[in-house]
Point group: C2
Chain length 434, copies 2
């Protein structure tokens, strides 16, 4: 698709590990030039080189423990400024015109929320001018500009994916290619499930569920943006010319399947696992209306991102119940402190904290029309002797919590049970591409 | 002057060595806050940290031998973005409001000449707003914005001094303080002339001559800008609170001298030396009209910065003459090549190249009204057995060329002869402050 016959506008995004050194910048430049040579117009969103962003954050913390958000954004945006200028130079030295643009110059208009700004408008006039004049436009990922405060903003971690998608939407690009160091989106993490297969096509709904369940290849926010604006994503490797994974809206996916003669879509798209969460159990909560609301108001005030919630059936004799929920480990201490502070108000007996859990999620649009998926999942886990501690479901996802040390085995048996195994072992690259 | 009683606007400039580490940034922040605490409004121009600019240039050269100028400017401006954001953070963490501004945000409007842009306008509306709201404004030195091309530009090496002076002029600052790691401008380089004294006041004309003659403490362009716009410069140490050197226009200098009762100004302000030049002699040039013009047209086409020119009296017998001139060593090869290419056209006999020369310049406004200065200079050098190879004069300067290895001794004897020696040895710091 990247080397098509007709003139198309293609947006390409390269992450920090793809532009970590002068050598890799030259490699990426060559790749971009190939796409241009094939007759396409090209817009590139690029992240800061390698660990630049982390290094700048460290530097800020050497100066002050709590950097002023406006100034932190000013600081961090130096990162993409460096990578985009070098990339544009590299392309120009190959005889192709290229121009770099800051978020502000590219028209990435955001609100004034430093560190996690939301895009409110995209006005890519200068990008269009550059394309019209035959140039390749290189845009700083991750950054924007607030009209309100007239200040530089950043979109938050992984914001370069969002930059790429927003540009693709605003410019009406044929496709937004997200380059990474794996071949695409896999049915499961190949490091855990050796027979994992690359997925050729996936709907954005499924991709969202996979990303939310721990698949790290794409950022949720970028997938959401792509879904809302009907942008076709193509997740592919910067190390090969192989087609990767297309992330499409449902209509486009159905259309493509019809063309292929693969209308009978697989029930399950993928199996994701996540070891980054912990479980908090509030033990002995009085089983009266409003208690759950009270607890989760405290949790929300502690700025925690709760994932799964389970409330036990209360024991008739005591009228007490237990409420368990999962959340990122990094937020555990904060929430425990907040709950302990309100102990008397809520009136629970005790708190349990468990950071040895693993989460497994089964995702697939085909689940909607296929009953028996959960039964099959539970059976596969039972056969492997793996105990399920929590269950939660959405329309196209089933998640279960197990012990952390059984989750890899769980992923393998579920992968096999749902017929996802490929014929050969997947190639695993060193990095994660992000 | 920095801690005055009345509210004044003070512009302060800190170079790269003053902000090389997180620690030194905190030290500079403290210094700025002290000036603010004393009741002044403060605007700061800051360079990139330590060797950042050189490192970015190296990176560019790893990508391509000839970086595109627009992209090189985009790249380099990341440097001040980092230092200014860190400095603003550091100040904010001390409880004072501070905001960083890029050259573009600060209204440093330049032409579109990447790498050596000239300032065409300064529109510091945002700086004024920040001051009105009680904030300290931190401005990226060295950078500007072209209205014409809508692109980021840089002012060339040492441009941060110019940024500071331009802001001081546009904002009507009381003084523009240039912080360095020496105590001010000295009558000679203390590393060469141990009895060199700090100059309390100097006219901008004298400062220009000293800078042109090799004194590195201030950039010529910044001094010129200050003179044209009547900005008072104060060159001082960032390591002490001592007054440094005021660079004033003639009227202000005379005014200050009257106040002090030091109206009888010294004849000589300082002695500068320079080892960065080489001498080219065009031997055996036909002594006919237009030959010198022909030669220097060739030299100019090679983009050389010629300093001194001497033409020998032609030998009557041959009607041939020699023309010598000095220029930066770095330009020597280029000019030799250019002249050699035009050998037949010009009709000279040979070229001599000598990079073992040293230049000594004696600068002083008092020279205008005092005869005998050159005689005294030549006598002092003669007494020390130092041979003079070339001489050139301006209204307030006499320069001579000697062998490179005698120039330090020459500076010492001339310094003594003109009564410039101080009572004690000057303190010499490690770096150069630039």
């Amino acid at each position: 698709m990247s080397s098509g016959e007709s003139v198309a506008l293609i947006v390409q995004k390269f992450g920090g590990s793809s532009v970590a050194t002068a050598e890799s910048i030259k490699r990426v430049a060559k790749r971009i030039v190939e796409t241009r040579k094939a007759g396409n117009e090209v817009v590139v969103a690029v992240s800061a080189m390698g660990d630049t962003t982390d290094e700048l954050i460290d530097l800020a913390h050497e100066v002050t423990p709590i950097p002023a958000p406006r100034e932190l954004d000013m600081l961090l945006t130096a990162g993409e400024r460096i990578s985009m200028a070098l990339l544009a130079m590299a392309i120009k030295s190959m005889g192709y015109d290229a121009r770099s643009f800051t978020g502000s110059q590219a028209g990435m208009i955001t609100d004034a929320q430093h560190g996690s700004a939301r895009i409110v408008d995209v006005t890519p006039g200068r990008i269009q001018d550059a394309l019209t004049e035959g140039a390749i436009a290189i845009v700083a990922g991750f950054q924007g500009f607030s009209r309100e405060s007239r200040d530089i903003t950043t979109l938050g971690r992984g914001g370069s994916d969002t930059t790429a998608v927003a540009l693709a939407a605003a410019l009406g690009a044929e496709v937004c290619e997200i380059y990474t160091d794996v071949d695409g989106v896999f049915t499961s993490d190949p490091r855990q499930v050796p027979l994992a297969r690359k997925i050729d096509r996936i709907t954005s709904e499924e991709m969202l569920e996979l990303a939310a369940a721990g698949a790290k290849v794409l950022h949720i926010r970028a997938v959401e943006y792509a879904r809302r604006h009907n942008v076709t994503l193509h997740v592919r490797s910067s190390f090969s010319n192989k087609e990767g994974t297309y992330v499409l809206n449902e209509a486009a996916a159905a259309e493509a399947a019809k063309k292929d003669g693969t209308v009978e879509e697989p029930i399950i798209s993928g199996v994701a696992t996540d070891l980054s969460e912990a479980k908090i159990t509030v033990v002995g909560v009085p089983d009266v209306p409003g208690k759950a609301a009270q607890i989760f108001k405290i949790v929300a005030k502690a700025n925690a991102n709760v994932d799964m919630i389970v409330q036990n059936v209360s024991a008739a004799a005591t009228s007490l119940t237990d409420i368990s929920f999962t959340l990122p480990k990094s937020e555990g201490q904060r929430v425990l402190t907040a709950l302990t502070a309100e102990h008397d108000e809520v009136g629970f007996q005790s708190l349990q904290y468990d950071d040895q859990i693993g989460k497994l999620a089964l995702v697939g649009a085909g689940m909607r029309t296929n009953s028996g998926v959960s039964a099959k999942l539970f059976e596969a886990l039972y056969d492997a002797g793996i105990n399920i501690e929590m269950i939660s479901t959405s329309e196209i996802r089933i998640s279960v919590v197990t012990r952390a040390d059984t989750v890899a085995e769980a992923a393998r048996v579920v992968h096999t049970a749902f017929g996802l195994d490929g014929d050969e072992k997947a190639v695993v690259y060193a990095g994660t591409g992000r």
